[in-house]
Symmetry: C2
Subunit: 338 residues, 2 copies
DNA sequence: CCGCTTAGGTTTTACGTATAACGTCTGCCT
DNA sequence: AGGCAGACGTTATACGTAAAACCTAAGCGG
């Protein structure tokens, strides 16, 4: 009191407790055992509480040369999936006394050349979702510890990678549809250059290549429900025998496919089976509920953060892809079930 | 070069350019006009570029006593809506050289008593979405400039508020349904104590109170599609004349209501009109597309950040609620249209 | 009684930056 | 000639913290 406006510093606490600033730092930093008496420590803690003392983080960060803050670079936040990744990453970070700053990469903020200009915070490390090579090298130029999510392990310039086992998810989808009897497929692919989508195309092709009598057409769509409607409607209207199953790169595209099917008078799943990938809330909101692959976004974020913490502590990050699981719902059925 | 691992400081730049550290700070801080010659400034800039100099944010923050970082407290990130708010807030912040740190409030991270422990960054201000009073007072205790989103102006302890004109949105919904001829309503309300939901209930009741022959039942549901299914199914199965229109507190609840209607053999909109609130991507993904009120989440975030910047600069934040707009789609029709 | 250890602190320093305060030199006016 | 005003810098300092280095007195073994 009598101090008024400005926040109390450790020196104020020291004065109030009748000790030196160093003693305050020791006590509050829990490094006082054997260096300060229990009674004095108690006085310091009380003074700190009474004054409402909060350490100045800028000063601490400067002194320590680290910030316990990491940057999470995501393609765009406007998706349930990355919200989950963020939530998971934050949970693990908090357990280790770290904070997470978000940087929505490409569209959000202007040209977005520089994540580090926008993130005012000083950083200890970076977690980046599958991103373009130039943006990646910009980050590497910063010489910060880096973990890549959902990225080509071979193309990550030596950074640690944490991936979902998307390839296995696509295999599960393919096997499910094949076992239902489908042979003519449409692959509704995301029109985004990204390793995570390349994997889908590659694995689907590889799986079907082993089965005689199968065929797969590919249509490309921007990642939005509206874009998918147009792409799917066009692709399903092409001459020749119509595909009986549409494998979509994610749930949003699947929702668009539903709408295209309605416009063409096709019923899901009787005339057309549809699969997604993500298992968003959307998947159970549409009718029929969507057969899709459940990606555990939060676990993904947790594992990513755990890997970064490992790198920061000089440990070896835990390897292995994160398993995914096919969820069969009402949007898939044998062809011509009607 | 020859320096090796550690990042270059302004002193290194100074040495490379043959000037004092102060000169470097002046030039790079763009405060050199009339104090440093153009030629010297050029040398400094080149040296900085060659060394790949980046100012140490922690040191700058300490020196300046501010961080150009603000905290955005949201109820939970796992929603498209708050992702939009964040995007808008970040856009405006970036224009003013500010960064935004996110704090997902209640469930995400343990008990989450203390936003400021988790957000490692030192902060200049806070934007908080409608939140409980105790959490609010914890923030106020921090004595940081504060802007509240979607909160009771009277109960915000004097903090500036920025609100969507939800009341007007509810009026538009009510008028739309009344003009279609509906008289028996079900209000599917979010089971969350929050001013923003109170407004919905109050305004709906007020609107219908003026029209003779109307009745409204209320059912409560957690904010999730699954929870809404159960709540809506129960409410629609109650004895007595069935409501012809369901007014839902948000789009997620509306999606649940669709599903409940299907289970009960009711068709939307022929047997039952349904309205939402938010206009999420979901609204156009479900069939029929949802009549709802479009909330411009990004604009909301922009206005919130603009208000906080105003407070930080000692200006008066711009007042006035943000207008919302009814979007009529296929989920509403006159009662008994079948 | 000397010297060593230990408890219980204090003094000092460094982190990297921004800026106030202080110099110097040249040119120019009166 | 004296002085004064730029132009062009430099020197010094402070921000608040953590921790290394230092100090002092008491206890104690030999």
């Amino acid at each position: 009191m009598a101090r008024g406006s400005t926040r109390p510093t450790s020196r104020d606490v020291a004065q109030a407790a009748g000790v030196s600033q160093a003693a305050v730092s020791l006590v509050l930093g829990d490094k006082w055992h054997g260096r300060v008496s229990e009674a004095t420590a108690q006085r310091v803690r009380e003074a700190a509480r009474d004054l409402g003392y909060r350490p100045n983080l800028a000063a601490r960060n400067l002194r320590l040369g680290r910030t316990r803050t990491v940057l999470l670079v995501v393609p765009a936040l406007t998706t349930e999936f990355f919200a989950g990744v963020y939530t998971g990453a934050t949970r693990v970070a908090a357990e280790h006394g770290f904070g997470v700053v978000l940087y929505p990469s490409p569209e959000g903020i202007g040209p977005a050349r520089d994540p580090f200009a926008s993130a005012q915070a000083a950083l200890d490390g970076v977690i980046a979702s599958s991103m373009a090579a130039d943006a990646l090298s910009a980050i590497r130029g910063e010489a910060l510890p880096l973990v890549m999510l959902d990225s080509d392990p071979a193309g990550s310039l030596g950074a640690a990678t944490v991936n979902l086992d998307i390839a296995d998810g696509v295999r599960q989808i393919a096997d499910h549809l094949l076992s239902l009897g489908h042979r003519r497929f449409l692959h509704l692919a995301a029109d985004v250059p990204s390793w995570t989508f390349d994997v889908r195309a590659r694995e689907l092709a590889a799986r079907l290549a082993g089965v005689p009598g199968t065929s797969v057409r590919t249509a490309r769509s921007p990642i939005s429900s509206e874009g998918a409607v147009a792409a799917a409607e066009t692709a399903l209207s092409e001459p020749g025998p119509r595909p009986t199953a549409v494998v979509c790169d994610d749930d949003l595209l699947a929702a668009g496919t539903y709408k295209a099917a309605r416009r063409l008078g096709l019923r899901v799943p009787d005339d057309l089976s549809v699969t997604g990938l993500d298992d968003l809330a959307l998947a159970t909101a549409i009718d029929p509920e969507l057969t899709t692959v459940r990606l555990d976004a939060e676990l993904f974020g947790e594992r990513g953060m755990a890997a970064l913490l490992a790198v920061l502590e000089g440990r070896e990050p835990k390897g292995g892809d994160i398993p995914v699981r096919l969820v069969v719902r009402g949007s898939t059925a044998p062809p011509g079930a009607a």
